[in-house]
Amino acid sequence: MSEAIFKADSVPVLAQGYRFQWEPAQDCNVLLYPEGMVKLNPAAGEILKRINDKKQTVAELIAELKVAFNGADLDDDVYQFLEEAHDNSWIRAE
């Protein structure tokens, strides 16, 4: 495993050329990029929607998700997703 990109005070942002939006025809959130599309499952959509909405640290993002999801213990899942999303070049750390 390579070293983690995202820490509590990192600010994740969408990578250049990526666009997040709700697609009625797909009935899900998607990421659009040059000549392609990624369909997001609800969980990935919840995280990326917040990354897209405003710049905030991972800690703030997790706090927001906890409020939305009844205080669920989701820290590890979020960190893991962010690393995967980074590996896929969807996001970068600012």
Binding site: Q16, G17, R19, Q21, E23, A25, Q26, C28, V30, L32, Y33, P34, E35, G36, M37, V38, K39, L40, N41, P42, A43, A44, G45, E46, I47, L65, F69, N70, A72, D73, L74, D76, D77, V78, Q80, F81, E84, A85, N88
Partner: protein, 397 residues
């Protein structure tokens, strides 16, 4: 790659639902709309995939007609819109079309040679909401480039590539390679590094339209490809994390055909300058096409109900060896246009496939290219450049 599940109201953390566009179960949504705005082009590339008789097309769709096509396709689920041609920059309403498409929620791609593009225009496109610009080059050496493009366009292209980058777009460069420029692949890649390209696509010429006509003169040789591939891989390693290099092996040197258009009438919709809707940009040349037009029918009627779009959907239309082949769901029997051009029957297997009884035609085409390349230069067939004069002459025959 994926982690936790995504039960309702449970923690996020899985990309389980993430897929590319190449999923067969998304059947029959035109996700990709290619808008060939015009056949006008200041270049004359001999490997152009436009039909040979393009000069016959006089009347292009109006701004309103294009926007109506965008709306209809968007309602059916299209997310990607490619502005292509010809050279889309020759349409005076391009900014308006970009803005309309972007407002509808499309991811907008401009596929341009860069001719006619200046930094003011790039800024205008940005303002209109254009998402992505791909600049295509003909070669890295100025002389060869001018020869291949038939015009003195090269210095300008470099300036344009810089303007694209300066406006905050990722720089996506596309080089169409063939026998006469593929030995310059290292120069091409050095140029890309110099331009700080983010993505480089090295695409071998595919033989449709004008390129088919010039196949003997464009066909690369096996030794050239081996060298080019080794160089491309070296740059891929060296440029990791900086510049992404895509190198596509030409299908004439493959054992299996490409999954052309991700399946006929599956995700791709092309609309040509005069409003003809096609399942792929080369399909106009197939026999028995009814060539529905967006001026006469809705996009939905065309996509769902037209004979053209249903012609090669599913697997029923297949002949052997495709019909009983266990790989048919992977490549759909390859390219219908290539099957027709080479075997005379569009339901045959793409002869690129080594299982095809017509595979020898591919080997013979490669051999014909070799024989042509070994002739003294003075005896070699000249390239036929894509221009209205040649179009009228050839189509008139």
């Amino acid at each position: 790659m994926t982690t936790a599940g995504s039960e309702q109201n449970k923690a996020p953390g899985s990309t389980g639902g993430a897929t590319g566009m190449n999923v067969r179960d998304q059947i029959r949504q035109p996700l990709w709309l290619l808008a060939e705005l015009t056949y006008s082009c200041p270049l004359q590339c001999p490997y152009c995939s436009n039909p040979m008789d393009f000069a016959k097309v006089k009347k292009e769709l109006s701004t309103e007609e294009w926007i109506s096509v965008f709306k209809q396709a968007r309602e059916m689920g299209a997310t990607q819109l490619g502005f292509s041609g010809g050279e889309p920059m020759t349409r005076p309403d391009l900014v308006e079309l970009i803005k309309a498409a972007r407002d509808l929620g499309f991811y907008t791609n401009l596929i341009t040679s860069g001719v006619g593009l200046d930094s003011t225009k790039v800024a205008e496109f940005k303002e209109a909401g254009l998402d992505h610009i791909q600049v295509s080059f003909q070669a890295s050496s100025e002389d060869l480039n001018n020869l291949i493009a038939g015009t003195d366009a090269f210095k300008h292209k470099i300036e344009m590539a810089k303007a694209v980058k300066a406006n905050g777009y990722p720089m996506v460069l596309c080089f169409v390679t063939h026998r006469q420029n593929i030995d310059q692949i290292d120069e091409i890649l050095d140029l890309c590094i110099e331009l700080e390209a983010d993505y480089v696509e090295l695409a071998t010429t595919q033989y449709y339209g004008w390129a088919m006509h010039n196949r003997d003169q464009l066909m690369p040789m096996k030794e050239q490809l081996n060298r080019a591939e080794a160089i491309a891989h070296r740059y891929q390693e060296e440029q990791k994390g900086k510049m992404k290099v895509y190198y596509v092996v030409p299908d004439y040197y493959e054992e299996r055909p490409k999954a052309c258009m991700n399946g006929w009438g599956n995700i791709f919709l092309t609309v040509t300058p005069d409003g003809t809707a096609l399942p792929c940009h080369a399909a106009r040349e197939l026999p028995g096409m009814s060539l529905p037009n967006v001026k006469d029918m809705s996009v939905r009627e065309i996509w769902e109900g037209s004979d053209d779009f249903n012609m090669f959907r599913g697997f029923e239309w297949m002949t052997e060896p495709c019909r009983s082949c266990d790989e048919k769901e992977k490549d759909f029997g390859g390219c219908r246009c290539q099957a027709f051009m080479l075997t005379g029957d569009a339901t045959n297997a793409d002869p690129v496939c080594s299982k095809s009884p017509h595979h020898h035609l591919i080997e013979e085409a490669v051999e014909a290219g070799r024989l042509e390349s070994e002739k003294p230069v003075i005896e070699q067939k000249p390239l036929v450049f894509r221009n209205p004069k040649n179009s009228k002459q050839i189509a008139g025959k």
